[in-house]
């Protein structure tokens, strides 16, 4: 099967400091791919480059055979890749429904009919349909995370980039968000999931990519990664042997 996304030797420098060094990988369509690594390893930078929020210093991002390297984020969204933010960024003056309407009106699905039905369905899916008319500024953190997902899904993406959707959530909220990610994936959206929480990511991912110090360390099944010596070392350090 042709990969949905190809990241080819992506390098990013911030004023001489290498945040990413020649990271390459391919994503197969349909699954949930976890992207893990210790704090500061470059996970969010990589996600931002794929989403068009940041431009790479060198390297290429190819999506469904189309070169999106250096494309602005709104073009990337219109092509079918959408991201969520680790700290939710709702349009606070707009209602929950209007927030979702932005995604519907401008994302990849913008030409599809029945927009109000789409909005209702997305809110239903993430479980905040009862808050449709509430101002986004009044949502709890958990509901803001759901809105962040709802808004992204409203663009009808082929590839969803999730940045730590579970950080700051309670155990039961985390469980329900992970269940939601599985539902989204089953409905046909490929997910690249950046997460610091190893337990969360190992439980939902079909494939895991590990990066450290801006370089790809390893990739494989969740089981293989949990037992990979270099991954354990990156996360816990050598003292793990004690």
């Amino acid at each position: 099967m042709a990969p949905i996304l190809r990241v080819d030797r992506v390098t990013k420098y911030f004023a001489g400091l290498a945040a990413l060094k020649e990271v390459s990988f391919e994503l197969q369509p349909g699954g949930i791919c976890g992207l893990i690594g210790p704090n500061g390893s470059g996970k969010t930078t990589l996600l931002s480059i794929i989403a068009g929020s940041l431009q790479p210093t060198s390297g290429a991002v190819v999506f469904q055979g189309r070169d999106l390297t250096g494309a602005k984020s709104f073009r990337v969204a219109q092509a079918g890749i959408v991201r969520t933010h680790q700290i939710p960024r709702p349009f606070r003056a707009l209602s929950v429904l209007e927030n979702v309407a932005v995604g519907i009106s401008f994302g990849r699905g913008q030409r599809s009919a029945s927009k109000t039905r789409d909005a209702g369905r997305v809110l239903e899916l993430v479980g905040i349909a009862h808050l449709a008319h509430a101002p986004a500024a009044r949502l709890s953190v958990g509901d803001q995370k759901r809105l962040e997902l709802a808004r992204a899904l409203a663009t009808q993406p082929s590839l969803l980039l999730c940045d730590e959707v579970c950080s700051g959530l309670t155990v039961s909220e985390t469980t329900s968000v992970l269940r939601l990610l599985r539902e989204i994936q089953k409905a046909g959206t490929t997910i690249l999931y950046v997460e610091h929480n190893l337990k969360a990511i190992m439980s939902v991912s079909h494939h895991v990519i590990v990066i450290n110090y801006g370089q790809k360390l390893a990739e494989g099944t969740p089981e293989a990664m949990q037992n990979d010596a270099s991954v354990i070392e990156a996360y816990i350090g050598r003292t793990a042997e004690n």
Partner: protein
């Protein structure tokens, strides 16, 4: 920036009172327009008509600024450029035999062109940087116009009157333009374009992440605002028949245009209208009564508003209405 939702759009009310209020708010603008349209039939005297005329012009410009600044969150100090260019374009066109209506179309067109010239470089800047750039552009245009010989430079430019002067004709032109501006603003607020503008104001990067093209959207809002502002400048020039750079291009004009929607309620449909009325009526009175002090009084008013009610007059009304309905509900539950 937190902004209040426009009147009647805060939350879906389910009581009969709130649906009655919404009906009243929908009908009120049409009644007001009808009233203003028949007003000249009563003999109000030229001073009152003049005051209303000036108010309509300010209301139009206030609404125009709010499309970019209120909905889109892009604070521009440079709207005097469009107002002045519209005024000059109209005056020049009329003196070359163009009729009144087409000279206004021309005024709007020139202003739109200017908005693109200003917008393409300045919309690459964000927040305060954009605001400062617009001050620079505005001052540069004023200096150029002060020294441009074909328009008379600093001494101004006069429209050579060919027919007799009918004040009422100008009154209706200004009223029609203000009505169009309200309709455009209300339409923008409910449209996909308005949604994009508000999303950009709230979080430009997040809006772009969802597929909104911020640069194009801002440029379009700037052009629409310039179109209305240029036409308003044209309507004013036709009435005044004499314009000069210090009058239409001054920094004070640019600031006044931005203050009106802030006073009335930024980012709402009716706030800029109220702000324009407050400015038009009070400002003209203040200038007449306190020629040296009017800016001080106006400035103090502005500070009070920004400190105590950032939502402007509309925010104040919205709060009072909610407080009122809350008391009623509470007293209703304890008969």
């Amino acid at each position: 920036m937190e902004s209040t939702a426009p009147l009647g759009m805060t939350e879906p009310g389910n009581s009969a009172a709130s649906s009655r209020l919404r009906f009243a708010l929908t009908v009120a603008p049409f009644l007001l327009l009808a009233l203003l349209a028949v007003l000249p039939l009563f003999d109000l005297g030229p001073n009152t008509i003049r005051l209303l005329f000036v108010t309509f012009v300010w209301v139009t410009v206030s609404i125009a600024w709010n499309i970019l600044g209120g909905f889109g969150g892009q604070v521009s100090f440079g709207f005097a450029v469009f107002y002045g260019l519209g005024a000059y374009a109209t005056a020049l066109a009329i003196n070359r035999g163009v009729n009144a209506f087409f000279s206004l179309v021309l005024a709007g067109g020139v202003a739109v062109l200017a908005s693109l010239l200003v917008g393409v470089p300045t919309f690459r800047l964000k927040g305060p940087h954009f605001a400062i750039a617009t001050i620079g552009v505005s001052e540069a245009v004023r200096v150029v116009m002060t020294n441009l010989s074909i328009t008379g430079g600093a001494s101004g430019y006069r429209i050579i009157e060919t027919g007799t002067f009918h004040q009422v004709k100008h009154y209706f032109a200004a009223l029609a333009l203000a009505a169009v501006a309200v309709a455009v603003s209300a339409f923008v607020r409910r449209s996909r374009f308005g949604l994009a503008l508000i999303a950009i104001r709230e979080d430009e990067e997040a809006a772009s992440d969802l597929g909104v093209d911020p640069f194009r959207t801002k440029l379009l809002a700037h052009a629409l605002a310039a179109l209305l502002t240029g036409a308003a400048g044209g309507v004013y020039a036709q009435y005044a028949a004499y314009i000069h750079p210090q009058g239409v291009f001054s920094f004070n004009v640019g600031v006044a245009i931005l203050l009106m929607p802030i006073i009335g309620g930024i980012g709402t449909v009716w706030g800029p209208v109220i702000g324009g009325v407050v400015y038009g009526l009070i400002h003209e009175e203040l200038i007449a009564s306190f020629p040296q002090l009017h800016l001080l009084i106006y400035g103090s008013l502005l500070i009070l508003i920004v400190l105590f009610e950032p939502g402007g007059v509309v925010g104040l009304l919205d709060k009072s209405y909610r407080a009122l309905t809350r008391t009623r509900r509470v007293s209703g539950s304890h008969p």
